[in-house]
């Protein structure tokens, strides 16, 4: 049963959350890379009930060719929600929102990628939301950055992302759909190695003097996700080494 707005609000005022988390807790996160064999890179990321599959192809020839940049590769991001990902069937045609989020995700990832190594080429990133429960763009960014790294695309850092919420003087992290409907939602993405923000949005009103606190809380959560991303990538290779009984090394 879906909780009503009033129930969520009442709990939040008490500093509690509908799924039993503390205010600054992330939802349980699961990450896996190399889930699609045919593609150069792929990742499956779950943040709570939100689940996103990301597939990376490339570098490939730039299509349409007039888009080709002689200096660098172009990044083509497609964010889509599966028809079965929401409560009501989602129409399969790309919505205005999906097109916008594709752009947002591309812009969050681009600063991390060293696209100059692949002039006139194209890197394709598909993010498919399998199940939506708030924070699909942030899960997509986390998955895309893993899939890009697994594909061996040169990048100066992984991008990690989380949404921070603000409601009635309280800051909360990694909103689910019920909280997202109620709170001011501030999705952010960072390159943690450089302490640089690559995405910052806000879709509601919140007091501006809270922004530092919001960013700090977000940064802490992002660092947790970042460590998990690194661990996921490394364990993929450590796993293989383990089955042979040999150490990593040459």
């Amino acid at each position: 049963m879906k909780p009503s707005k009033e129930e969520v609000a009442e709990l939040l005022r008490k500093g509690l959350r509908i799924d039993g988390r503390k205010m600054h807790d992330l939802r349980p996160i699961r990450m896996e890379v190399g889930v699609v064999e045919r593609a150069e890179g792929s990742a499956l990321v779950s943040m709570g009930k939100t689940r996103v599959l990301c597939v990376v192809r490339g570098p490939v020839e730039c299509v349409p060719s007039h888009m080709a940049d002689p200096e660098r590769a172009i990044l083509d991001v497609a964010y889509r929600m599966a028809t079965f990902s929401t409560d009501e069937r989602k129409s399969p045609s790309p919505s205005r929102r999906e097109i916008e989020l594709s752009k947002i995700i591309r812009e969050a990832l681009e600063p991390a990628l060293l696209l100059g190594e692949y002039p006139r080429m194209m890197i394709r990133v598909y993010c498919l939301v399998l199940q939506a429960d708030g924070g699909t763009r942030t899960a997509s960014i986390n998955a895309a950055s893993l899939a890009l790294a697994y594909a061996g695309i040169p990048m100066q850092d992984l991008v990690a992302s989380v949404a921070v919420g603000y409601y009635d003087g309280k800051i909360l992290v990694d909103l689910n759909a019920a909280e997202d409907d109620l709170c001011a939602d501030i999705p952010m993405a960072m390159m943690p190695a450089y302490n640089k923000i690559t995405l910052l949005q806000a879709d509601h009103i919140f007091p501006i003097d809270k922004i530092r606190e919001i960013l700090d809380v977000g940064r802490k959560a992002i660092n947790q996700i970042y460590e998990l991303q690194k661990k996921t990538l490394k364990s993929k290779y450590a796993e293989i080494a383990k089955t042979t009984g040999a150490n990593v090394g040459e």
Partner: protein, 237 residues
């Protein structure tokens, strides 16, 4: 060479070291603040001041002088186009393949190579963002007949060859197979019996999968030896 290196897996964004006294090679960049940061998932090999990040994943990018294996997919009057596992198809001029001038008025290009033929060639010229140019002028290059093709991740090719060709020599010695290795991730194998080719394919796939582990040459040698015994006794399934 073993033991002197410290090796570990690094991921993009990972700080390898700080300072200007290092000699950095491979998939890593030096930032203005002196931090040396890995740019790809790879194996870090560190020895004194030497830092080298050997990528564990990534696409094939042709370099001048690479030996590659290509498949003819298209042709014009004076050149063929070969699929070499790159964004663009590579061009092989008829005169470069035949090692003599080619007269399109008197002879047909398809008399020499047809669509689907396999060629071992060298990258003669590459320009950023353009189709590469191939050549077969040097010794050992040309059409490959019979055998089978094995496709692996191009970044694993150095491991198939091994240090000073140790791995490749071991495979050749044990199986007596003819092997050509393309830097683009395509390997051609031809042996007396198809079972041996199958065995080599199996071994190469194992190298690809376990490329980042230690003691691989030894394990592959053992496996090939066992495999050859099985084949000789007719037990190879």
């Amino acid at each position: 060479m073993k033991g002197q290196y410290t090796t570990k897996i690094v991921v993009p964004g990972e700080v390898i070291a700080v300072g200007s006294r290092y000699n950095v090679r491979g998939a890593a960049i030096v930032k203005p603040d002196g931090r040396i940061i890995a740019t790809r998932i790879g194996l870090l090999r560190m020895k004194g001041r030497e830092i080298n990040v050997v990528p564990l994943a990534g696409a094939y990018i042709p370099q001048k002088g690479d030996s590659v294996i290509g498949i003819v997919v298209d042709y014009s009057v004076v050149y063929w186009l070969l699929e070499i596992n790159y964004v663009w198809k590579a061009r092989l001029d008829a005169s470069e393949f035949l090692r003599r001038p080619f007269d399109a008025g008197k002879e047909r290009i398809t008399d020499y190579l047809k669509i689907g033929d396999v060629v071992y060639a060298k990258i003669a010229h590459v320009e950023r963002g353009m189709p590469p140019i191939l050549s077969c002028r040097d010794k050992g290059y040309g059409k490959l007949e019979g055998g089978r093709l094995i496709s692996i991740n191009p970044v694993k090719i150095p491991r198939v060859i091994g240090v000073k060709s140790s791995m490749l020599d071991a495979i050749k010695k044990i199986t007596k197979a003819e092997i050509k290795v393309g830097a683009n991730g395509i390997i051609w194998v031809k042996a007396e019996r198809p079972e041996i080719e199958e065995l080599v394919e199996h071994a190469i796939k194992k190298i690809e999968r376990e490329s980042h582990t230690a003691g691989l040459t030894k394990r592959i040698q053992n496996e090939l030896m066992k495999g050859m015994h099985k084949i000789q006794r007719g037990e190879w399934k």
